[in-house]
Structures are given as C-alpha cells and as structure tokens.
C-alpha cells in the first residue's frame, strides 16, 4: 500500500509553512548583500531544499515505491549531465556566438 499514504491536515499545513518561511528567507538574504558567487549558491540551495520538500512530502515520494524515486533521481542526473557537457563547450569558447 505504498501509494496510499494519507497525510494529516496538520502535517500538510506544516509543510506549506516551511515552504513559506523558506520563501521569505530567500527574499530576505537579498537584502543583506552577499558577495558574488555566494548569493547564487544560497539562492539555488534554498530552492533545492524547497523543491525536495515538495517532492518528498507533497508528491509523497518519501513513502512511494523505490522505482518512482529512481525515476526522479535519474531525471535529475541526466539534467546535470546535459548542463555539464554543454558547459564544457560553451564556457571554453574563445568567441561566444558572435552576433547573438
């Protein structure tokens, strides 16, 4: 019965509250100017945490079959592969696409 996890209303509200708080934090950290690469790192890190909370507790992957978890992980892995291989090209061009 892995697919029929029933969350309590209190739990769902708790998850939403955590997401609201993290949304506030991600806006609040832009008020204190964090130096260059770290502001991006912090913003992405908070977004990743929020996304994982949604995936685990709203999309119920936490209680779901391991195969669905595997599907999700593989999609992220191939997305990272796509980014990595493309950047190996675009980051090391002498002349980025000239007129575009």
């Amino acid at each position: 019965m892995s697919g029929h996890h029933i969350s309590s209303a209190k739990f769902l509200w708790g998850v939403a509250l955590a997401l609201f708080v993290l949304t506030f934090i991600t806006v609040a950290v832009t008020w204190i100017q964090i130096p260059e690469p770290w502001n991006i790192v912090v913003a992405i890190a908070i977004a990743v945490v929020k996304a994982l909370i949604v995936v685990a507790f709203f999309m119920n992957l936490w209680w779901d079959s391991k195969f669905n978890v595997l599907l999700f992980i593989m999609s992220i892995a191939f997305f990272l592969l796509l980014i990595g291989i493309t950047l190996l090209d675009t980051l090391y061009r002498v002349d980025p696409v000239p007129s575009f």
Partner: protein, 218 residues
C-alpha cells in the same frame, strides 16, 4: 475474503487487465512519474539556456533583472505554494471519501491558479507597454546592454511555458470538479486527482526555481 464488506466496494473503475485497484493505481502513478521525468528534461533545456547565457553575460542578468518586480514574484510564489497545499488537501479529502471537501479544495486551487495568471498578465502587459518584447521585437532603451533582449527572450520562454502549464492545470482541475460532482471519485478510486496533484506540484517546483533565478538576482 468470503465476507462481503459492510460498505459495498465500488469497482467500476477497475480495468480487466489489472489484478486489483492498487495495481492499477500504482501503474498510473508510475506512468505519471515517467511523464514528469520528460517534463523535468523539457524545462531543463530552458534552464540550460539560462545558465549558458548567464555565464556569457553575467552583468546583463543583473541589469535586466531590475525590470522585474521582486514583490509580485514573491506574491506569486506564495500563491503557488498555497495552491500546492490545497491540491494536497484535495487528495486527502478524496482519500477520506470527503467529496465535498475535494470539490472545495479544487475550487480554491483553481482560484489561486487564476490569481497567479492575473498577476502574470499585469507583469507581461507592463513590459509589453515599455517595448520589452522577446527577440527581434525588443525596442526598450532603458537597459545599457547590447544584448538586453536575450535575457527577456529567456524570461518569456521560461515564464511563458510555465504559464501554459498553469493554464493546462486549471483545465485539468475543472475536469476533476466535473467528475467529482458526478460522484466518480471515492476513497477506493481517486487516481486522476492524485495524478493531477503530482503535475501541479511539479509546476510549483518549476516556479520555485524560476523565482530566485529571474527575480532575485539584482
């Protein structure tokens, strides 16, 4: 097994090629996750375009992002997270056989989705008015950068595709309301509600990334 349960089990939804409701439910959900994988890679291409161009023109992103209103982006984030909550509540209602609660939660979700689209409409309208249009139609003079149109092409592609997904979600949930009113769903069969919920949460996740990447970099 030989004892018939007190409340007679409804099985009209069960296709003959499945052993039981659970197997049918699990198969549908797995199919949806496969679709969500393709969605992640579909949006992934656009996120990649964002990354490649940000690496090429970092200063452009900082300048152009100032045209976006952080406040309205934040409001839309809260609206979408709220709608994710109500979808999760709708699924919970269906699991508990509370069809009235299911319909109410679906209507709230549809309402929040419409709020999101209305805010997006005003954001787009304001930019169109200034001449901030995608690609070759870009005529705005306010950003000191030759390639300012590139940022907004990426902005319109990402938020536009996301907006289309929100519209599709509204359509799906109207269909769910129609089905729920016809008493199709009950605690033994709510697969379409669960599947649409998964879709809606993914749309929420995409926005969770779009908000900091587009609005919060100035």
């Amino acid at each position: 097994m030989s004892q018939p349960s007190a409340t007679e089990e409804r099985l009209e939804h069960l296709k003959h090629y499945f052993i039981d409701s659970d197997q049918q439910f699990e198969a549908s959900k797995m199919g949806m996750w496969v679709f969500l994988v393709t969605e992640i890679l579909f949006f992934g291409g656009l996120f990649l375009a964002y990354i490649v161009y940000r690496a090429w023109y970092p200063e452009l992103y900082l300048l152009a992002s100032e045209e976006l209103h952080t406040f309205w982006g934040a409001v839309n984030t809260v609206v979408l997270i709220g709608s994710s909550l109500t979808v999760a509540m709708a699924i919970r209602s269906a699991q508990l056989n509370q069809i009235k609660g299911l319909i109410i939660n679906l209507w709230i979700t549809i309402g929040l989705a419409c709020v999101f689209m209305v805010i997006k409409y005003f954001e787009y309208a304001e930019k169109f008015g200034k001449g901030i249009l995608p690609g070759g139609y870009y005529t705005y003079e306010g950003i000191e950068h030759e390639q300012a149109n590139i940022f907004f092409s990426i902005y319109y592609m990402m938020t536009g595709l996301h907006g289309i997904h929100v519209l599709v979600g509204i359509g799906l949930m109207l269909w769910l309301v129609y089905k729920a009113k016809k008493k199709v769903f009950h605690s033994g069969y709510y697969t379409p509600v669960e599947i649409t919920g998964l879709y809606w949460h993914l749309v929420d996740i995409i926005w969770i990334f779009l908000f900091p990447l587009l609005y919060l970099i100035d």
